[in-house]
């Protein structure tokens, strides 16, 4: 049997405004991306090939599902237009559908099944027709039954109401509480009701209360309370003394100090109240760290002075190696300069500056790279105050990033906090560390982290 999963943009229109930048098809329900529930269902129903069809973008889905080999099925993709009827969709995929029993799942549907064994049997025996439908979509089977037999009185699956942010929230909570085994992805801690991923750091005095699901690469700082009934995604920091219960934190979220997140969905810097559908964007980094203390506010000049001093020190330290090594590299043609345009969210304009790159072939290149000579020209920018010495990795003006990068506390800098922390430098992941330090930054800490970033670069080259 083959399955067509047909999901149109209008089907998930209710969800997309809440989480810009997250494709609803890979939006996690509990800890599993939505599309995987449909794939699992199709496989249990006896499909060996699945085609995911949409009138919207599919690249993120494709990045997650790839060719389906992970599930042992063929997954392929196709585009349709928004107003194509199901007949047209089948026509457009006629070659794919030919001579096969066909299961068509149409709509942004959540399917509940309790008895996994019965599914395949039931589908093999069922004659064609609509097996389930609601106003949001349908499950249709085409072709003649594979085997004959007595169908069970009740279909072993049903459609769940899944058309509002509140449904979404309740469904996740319900799965976590009542049906974790058939649905969620396994974690590393196999205690019942407690799924914990890789690289999870739990601080002193932090509490984890079951049931709970925690993803990979999560830091729970001291005194924080996570759970009960919390779903925490990957790349998440929950800062000191914060509470997260009966809530969902999607990937790449930073929850600041002493905050109380109860009955909420958080994604990046967006917080949603699922009951009322109200959402706020936490635009300033200090909102992410409890009641504003005087320490952060008004320290702008102070902080700049520190940055200028650090920049000056580094310039003094590096100018000699710079003058010695760079001409050599230039002769060898290994010193390339490229200009880099980045968006300064603070000032709301694009800035362009030169950022050299070094081909680290041979000794001189490696040495120059270890000494961060490629960052040398940028240090003057930091001295002038245009950028910080340490902060966020400058985000290049690129259409891909603009939408999703309204990160709080973004502050373009010579070195990034991610480099200091040895966190993978990648716009999405590093944004979390950057938010953490945006909320925790102090001039002295900045200085320490700058040195750490600088040494890390030396270290990574020496290895």
């Amino acid at each position: 049997m083959k399955t067509l999963i047909v999901i149109r943009e209008k089907d998930y229109g209710w969800l997309s405004p809440f989480f810009p930048g997250v494709n609803p098809l890979v939006m996690p329900v509990c800890n599993k991306p939505f599309i995987e529930f449909l794939i699992d269902f199709s496989i249990l129903a006896g499909s060996s090939a699945i085609r995911i069809i949409s009138d919207g973008p599919l690249n993120e889905v494709e990045r997650y599902c790839e060719d389906g080999s992970r599930w042992g099925v063929d997954v392929s993709y196709a585009s349709i237009l928004g107003n194509d009827s199901i007949e047209t969709v089948i026509e457009k995929n006629r070659k794919y559908c030919a001579d096969q029993r066909l299961l068509i799942i149409s709509g942004y549907l959540f399917i509940r099944y309790e008895n996994r064994q019965e599914l395949r049997h039931c589908f093999a025996m069922a004659s064609g027709g609509t097996l389930a439908e609601n106003e949001r979509g349908s499950i249709v089977l085409a072709g003649t039954p594979e085997i004959t037999g007595q169908l069970p009185a009740a279909t072993p699956f049903s459609l769940v109401e899944f058309d509002s942010i509140d449904n979404y929230f309740r469904l996740s909570a319900e799965i976590l509480k009542e049906y974790p085994s058939p649905y969620v992805l396994p974690g590393y801690c196999n205690e019942p009701d407690c799924h914990i991923g890789r690289n999870v750091v739990i601080g002193k005095g932090a509490e984890i209360r079951k049931p709970v699901i925690i993803g990979n690469n999560v830091q729970i700082m001291k005194g924080a309370v996570v759970g009960p009934s919390a779903v925490v995604g990957s790349n998440v920091i929950i800062d000191r003394e914060s509470t997260v219960s009966r809530s969902i934190l999607l990937d790449n979220t930073y929850i600041g100090e002493q905050l109380e997140v109860v009955d909420r969905i958080a994604a990046g810097n967006i917080l949603v109240d699922p009951r009322s559908g109200v959402s706020i964007a936490m635009e300033d980094p200090h909102l992410l760290s409890s009641l504003p203390g005087s320490a952060h506010i008004g320290s702008g000049l102070f902080r700049y002075l520190f940055h200028a001093i650090v920049a000056l020190l580094l310039i003094l330290l590096l100018s000699l190696p710079y003058l010695m090594l760079v001409p050599l590299l230039k002769i060898q043609g290994k010193w390339k300069t490229g200009s880099f345009t980045f968006h300064d969210i603070r000032q709301g304009k694009n800035l362009r500056f030169v950022m050299p790159s070094i081909a680290d072939e041979g000794g001189i290149g490696s040495l120059a790279k270890a000494l961060s000579l490629d960052r040398f020209p940028m240090l003057f920018r930091a001295l002038a105050g245009t950028i910080a010495v340490i902060g966020s990795f400058p985000v290049e003006v690129s259409h891909r990033l603009e939408a999703g990068y309204a990160a709080t506390g973004y502050r373009p800098a010579v070195f990034s906090y991610a480099e200091a922390e040895d966190w993978p430098v990648n716009a999405e992941d590093s944004a979390i560390v950057e938010q953490f330090y945006a909320a925790h930054g102090s001039p002295v800490r900045d200085m320490v982290l700058t040195i750490k970033a600088f040494l890390n670069r030396i270290h990574s080259k020496v290895q």
């Binding site: 002493q258 905050l259 109380e260 997140v261 109860v262 917080l271 109240d273 009322s276 109200v278 959402s279 706020i280 635009e283 300033d284 200090h286 909102l287 760290s289 409890s290 009641l291 504003p292 506010i297």
Partner: protein, 117 residues
């Protein structure tokens, strides 16, 4: 920022209407105004009907206004928080510091029933 004194309880209650955004840019104004309001009465109500955005600096200012009115044996009560603004108070636990009312009239009346000041 509109300010008026309500005498319906027999005692003066100052009602300030906040509107638009209250953020780092304009929270200094509120700070200044609040100083002068406190000279007239220490019992304040901030009517937030028109307030649609609050950031941490704004929140900090409201908290400092509360502190000053408490120092003068008064209080600062909040009325008509929009869901967005309310979320900021909940998230930061600042909600626990304030008495919050659905509208300004209720907030004013609560000063009469309370026996403080």
């Amino acid at each position: 920022m509109d300010f008026r004194i309500d005498m319906s309880n027999g005692q003066p209650v100052g009602i300030a209407s906040l509107d638009g955004r209250l953020d780092a840019e304009n929270c200094g104004d509120l700070q200044t105004f609040c100083q002068s309001w406190l000279k007239e009465t220490s019992r304040l109500v901030f009517d937030c009907t028109g307030l649609d955005f609050l950031d941490s600096s704004g929140l900090g200012t409201i908290v400092s206004c509360l502190r000053k009115s408490l120092e003068q044996d008064g209080d600062l009560k909040l009325a008509a928080l929009s869901p967005q603004v309310s979320m900021v108070f909940e998230l930061t636990k600042a909600r626990k510091l304030f008495s919050i009312f659905p509208d300004a009239d209720n907030a004013v009346r609560s000063y009469a029933s309370g026996d403080k000041a």
